[in-house]
Amino acid sequence: MINATYAIWLRHMRKFTRNREELGGLLIQPILWVALFGVGMGRMLPDQSNYLSFMLPGILALTALGGAAGGGMMFLDERLRGILREYMVAPIPRLSILLGHMCATVSKAFFQIIIVVIVGVLAGAQLGGGVVGWLATLIALICFTLGFAGIALGVAARSKSIMGYHGMIFLFNLPLLFASNALYPLDSAPVWMQWLAKANPATWFIDVARSSTQSTDMSANLLNLGLLMGFAVAGTWLALRRFNAVTAN
């Protein structure tokens, strides 16, 4: 189980570090987001560095969502090209195949996240909170990525084509961000939108990230962290269910 997960993860990492295009793309993406959202939009406001600090968690969420979508894409590509069957005739649990892909997805997202944070700090974002806060943010981010990686893999497990997959993924990628507290504080939003945002894992993550990089009081974050962990498990469960249904057909 662990062996197979590790083997699949390693295989993806080997391919990833070898693929200059992918590496370059993933590197530039976060820099662009920080520049466009943080610095660009921040110019319109009086206090620049504060808006970037406010936006940074949203950019992290966007990066994680992009990573999850990319992870589903990677899985779909292996499925459509038939590489997946190589794993399927091996005496390994189906879960390990999924976990291998999810770990690879999280690893790539992690790589991007580090860059977002570095670029963000260089551009003037202020990170407070200390080690505990950062750790909480990291755990929240990993759970958030895992949950969406699960959903993306679940979609990819059944998609007939790459176009179909993109169509599905687009449905929940950007709208999810707009229906959260990523871009603006929720206080000014209509009530229905506030409710929508409260049920949105992106909001849970952003709450954790904002509060724990601004204060050291963790207690308010426990509920959000719990919700995010549940979300990660639910995402994995969904992916496994859809994946099993496909292999049993």
């Binding site: 391919k15 794993y87 390994i92």
Partner: protein, 312 residues
């Protein structure tokens, strides 16, 4: 080693495999022969636990493939019709990762990888990305990959599809060597009758999901006698040459304006057949005589030529 009974698989309204039965004893090679779309890949996918049959039982090396797929997966090696090699890995890495997937330790992986690369003569190309390999090299690497875990049974779906004659012969040599030196049990699918005839001790002919004939190549071909006389003439639609009821006629049929008669001794009977046709007032435009092949068996059992089907 491979026992399947009453296998059924339906995709929507397409009956891909119908009531298929198949037995392969240990150490022997079985060829599933049929045109494209006959149901060969579907059958192999069910036998290798990739696809659950709608009905029927599959027992591989004593393990039930539906109830205990992992036990089956541990003893089989599989290559797929469409090559599944990862283009971004080198040949050596592809084998290494496969061993890793099964939890082989590093020393064993290195050693087996080396042995297998030597076996399939890919040492020189081992560290190039497989994306740069030719079709023949990829098939050979696939063969090496499926041998990585030292399986007892190989399932090879169209192992020589798209290869030039030289590479086909090369793959055949490996497969024969595996059978003779390692006593490997194999099930291969093919739409080439020469391949089935050369490699297999048992052949099953499959068409539209049904097994239409099975036996040893000699048995299947034997029903046509030792030679096949083919005569083209202006046959009327319902032509019945009653004089072909003789004891030296093994088998006869008229298809596409050609009369084919399986006989015990061609050169001795051809004159008699020509006389018979002439007595019925027919104009013979062409004739020849060949040894019957599995292609004739296929034509006889399905009414269609194997080769024409392949192109469609």
């Amino acid at each position: 080693m491979i026992d399947a009974q009453g296998l059924h698989k339906q995709f929507g309204t397409v009956q891909a495999v119908i009531d298929l039965e198949l037995h392969v004893p240990q150490g022997s090679v079985y060829a599933l022969l049929g045109p494209n779309g006959a149901g060969k890949s579907t059958t192999i996918n069910m036998l290798t636990t990739l696809l659950r049959p709608d009905r029927g039982t599959i027992v591989i090396a004593g393990h039930d493939a539906v109830r205990n797929p992992d036990a089956v997966r541990r003893v089989i090696g599989v290559t797929f019709q469409d090559l599944v090699l990862d283009r971004d890995l080198s040949g050596r890495e592809a084998l290494d990762f496969y061993g890793r997937l099964y939890g082989l330790d590093a020393a064993t992986r290195t050693q087996r990888t080396k042995e297998l690369l030597t076996l399939v003569e890919l040492n020189d190309a081992a560290d190039r990305l497989t994306g740069t390999y030719s079709g023949g090299m990829r098939r050979r690497l696939e063969l090496a990959r499926c041998l990585m875990m030292q399986p007892q049974i190989l399932f090879l779906d169209e192992p020589t599809q798209g290869l030039d004659p030289q590479h086909r012969a090369m793959i055949w040599d490996y497969l024969r060597m595996l059978q003779q030196q390692h006593g490997m049990t194999m099930l291969i699918t093919t739409h080439a009758m020469d391949e089935a005839e050369i490699l297999a001790q048992q052949v099953g002919i499959i068409d539209h999901g049904r097994m239409v004939a099975s036996g040893t190549p000699a048995e299947l071909i034997g029903q046509f006698g030792s030679e096949m006389v083919r005569i083209t003439a202006n046959y009327p639609a319902d032509y019945q040459p009653s004089w072909l009821q003789a004891e030296w006629v093994r088998n006869w049929a008229i298809q596409n304006g050609e009369l084919r008669v399986g006989v015990d001794h061609g050169s001795r009977r051809i004159a008699t057949i020509l006389d018979g046709l002439r007595a019925d007032g027919l104009q013979v435009s062409d004739m020849n005589m060949t040894r019957p092949s599995l292609g004739d068996v296929f034509l006889q059992t399905t009414g269609r030529a194997l080769r024409d089907e392949v192109k469609s």
